[in-house]
Subunit: 409 residues, 2 copies
């Protein structure tokens, strides 16, 4: 008998009717001869409602108790789904993070799973029950409730699937798979039947919010067969799988656009060792995640340092950088929030040169100036002026995906 | 250093502003040199909101999961209060039922506390923290979440106070104490400074919703000094205490009115052994709590059986009784929902006869007909026509409380 782990996000659990639809699908999966574990998120809107309450009580609510607060959202979801399942004649039992138990570190609000004991879940499955598991939460060594951060329920699902050596982990969401690019920007975008873990990791880190990045890491490490599907229809979805030879033949499997970007440059800094850490240290300490970093030494013995970061952290970071600039005698700070990041991702880049050159050429033909460049083995990202974002995505998608250039050997 | 347990109900926790007011009071209690444990209910309205969701999914939602669902309300309250406390500089830590742990039986929705391990709470108190405890919930032997029933947070508070041998257990609510009768009915009602456990038990069972009845039983059994106070002002409240000689001098300490009453009579039943159990057995099995029961044998060899029950259960019970009446060849069933129960309670009745006679006389003078009578050692209850309820309360309060008759030896 196969073990299937299904994860339903907040939108899929967003109303009584949707919870009933989830129960219907779960029941059908069990009747088809599977043992089913369901991992659920809080009903959509609930996490924000709770956070609002916390923030009305404190500008910086104590993180340990915020986790206690937020964990109630997923707990309520487990109970509601179990009630709906039993109403449809499907035996079900709820499990909270501490009951399983899902051990994490104590980094409240962004805890990482250390281990999962699958025994209690196996017991429920053997008894013919659907196990309904609260996503997003765990428990630390002292027994405090922890949460895994936004999107963490994906990671809960993959980790549970790994612990149970499940035959499949299906992530049900409000999109029906992973696309070559955002179909709202580019109608020619098509759904991928399969994508490699590494490509999915790059896309996730680029802001394509289909899967929580940790969940993909987990799936890769523990070899969990992972599938992204729609909870609103029965289409096939996209499988996230280990890479194979056929995948390497595809130069570019996706083009992504990340609008949540801001750019800060500190100008004419005396070029001495330790500069970057002097500028970026305080920002890291404030838990702001910097994305691209570029440093250009000039012949005159000074340098410009530019970095990008999420728009939400821009104001805070700018204040810090302006302080640092004064301290170290820089000439000034310039910043820009009207920028976006456009990226192309594909396993084929690993073995084939020339993708970067083609990308820059395509952008140049559209008259789009490149402000920053960053590359990895299977990804090229550029920062450009925000107003050109959609145009760049369409041009790159057309040339690199739709016209699917044959990979030259 | 004294240990004080404070319990705040849903109204006291009903908004961000009220939670801040609770935090203020808790902080002041700690600064006054006490170790403080706070037991909280769900924000007002939250339990009903969650129950509504469950009932939209199932007419009879599975009780075990309803408890999982409802327990989230108290959990959220603990986190919000802990956040508010820390914001005011008061160190605080939350404890859910399973973390303490509060062991209960497995009667979901109406579980009874078996034991409480006070060690983790003592640890927090010793560390200078306020312990914020989720009321209303516990955990059974299998680790399932349980809840104690409406008002159960009172019982949580008293049980925690008993486990810690606390110096006081203060129940903060939206009334400022226990009154001789409902001041909305009788403006001459006055607040009692003290009331005995037994009197409080009678008043609680009569529908005066100041305290959960199990909490009073706990307080009596474990000798917990219990106080009912308002969370909206600083008035003294009412202490519920072991009885003493002075209390016995007071004939009647309270007059109560219970409007949630309905009456069913099954007429001309053949008078055979087992009759009452034949009629009332199915009703008990349906978890309907019957209050007064009266059986009158006639000289003709048959009998009438009358009982009262809460209005909410009336329709269901009536259907059962009509079925039974047919089965056993009774002549018919009559029912009445236009009745109320008026009761007088006082320790003095134990040693002084004649209170019942005086009560009946007072009602007769007002032209009020008594339909049923029930007595305990320290209580007399009568069922009368609903429209006379307030009149009866005022007349009895005036004669038996305000004019405070000297107890004749």
């Amino acid at each position: 008998m196969a073990i299937v782990v299904q994860k339903y996000g907040g939108t899929s659990m967003g109303s009584v009717e949707r919870i009933q639809a989830v129960a219907e699908r779960v029941g059908a999966t069990q009747r088809a001869g599977n043992q089913v574990v369901v991992v659920v998120s809080a009903m959509s809107g609930e996490t924000n409602r709770l956070l609002d309450l916390a923030h009305k009580l404190a500008a910086q609510p104590v993180e340990r108790e915020v986790d206690v607060l937020l964990a109630t959202g997923e707990q309520a979801s487990t109970a509601l789904l179990a009630i709906a399942l039993q109403e449809k004649g499907v035996p079900a039992r709820t499990f909270q993070g501490y009951q399983i138990r899902i051990d994490t570190d104590s980094a409240y609000g962004r805890a990482r799973i250390r281990s999962i004991d699958g025994d209690s879940l196996r017991g429920a499955l053997s008894a013919g029950q659907v196990a309904v598991v609260a996503g997003f939460q765990g428990v630390d060594a002292e027994g405090h409730i922890t949460t895994l951060g936004r999107g963490g329920s994906d990671t809960s699902a993959v980790a549970v699937a790994a612990a149970l050596k499940a035959d499949a982990c299906e992530i049900y969401t409000d999109v029906d798979g992973v696309y070559t690019t955002d179909p709202r920007i580019c109608p020619a975008a098509r759904k991928l039947a399969r994508i490699s873990h590494d490509e999915m990791l790059e896309l996730a880190s680029l802001g394509a919010k289909v899967l929580h990045i940790r969940s993909v890491e987990f799936a890769k490490r523990y070899n969990v067969p992972l599938c992204v599907r729609s909870s609103f229809d029965n289409s096939e979805g996209t499988w996230v799988v280990p890479e194979d030879a056929a995948m390497e033949q595809v130069l570019v499997s996706g083009v992504s656009l990340d609008r949540d970007q801001a750019k800060i440059t500190i100008r004419h800094v005396p070029d001495k060792p330790g500069l970057a850490s002097r500028v970026l240290g305080p920002i890291a300490q404030a838990n702001i995640v910097v994305d691209m970093i570029i440093q250009n030494a000039s012949s005159a013995g000074d340098t410009d340092l530019t970095f990008t970061l999420p728009k939400t952290d821009f104001r805070r970071a700018l204040g810090m950088v302006e302080q640092t600039a004064m301290d170290i005698g820089a000439q000034g700070v310039v910043s820009d929030t009207e920028v976006v990041k456009v990226s192309v991702v594909g396993l084929g880049m690993r073995s084939h040169a020339g993708v970067a050159a083609r990308m820059f050429d395509i952008l140049a033909r559209e008259g789009i100036n490149i402000q920053m460049i960053s590359t990895s083995e299977i990804k090229i990202s550029v920062v450009i002026e925000a107003k050109y974002g959609e145009l760049a995505v369409r041009a790159l998608h057309r040339a690199l995906v739709e016209e699917a250039p044959a990979t030259e050997a």
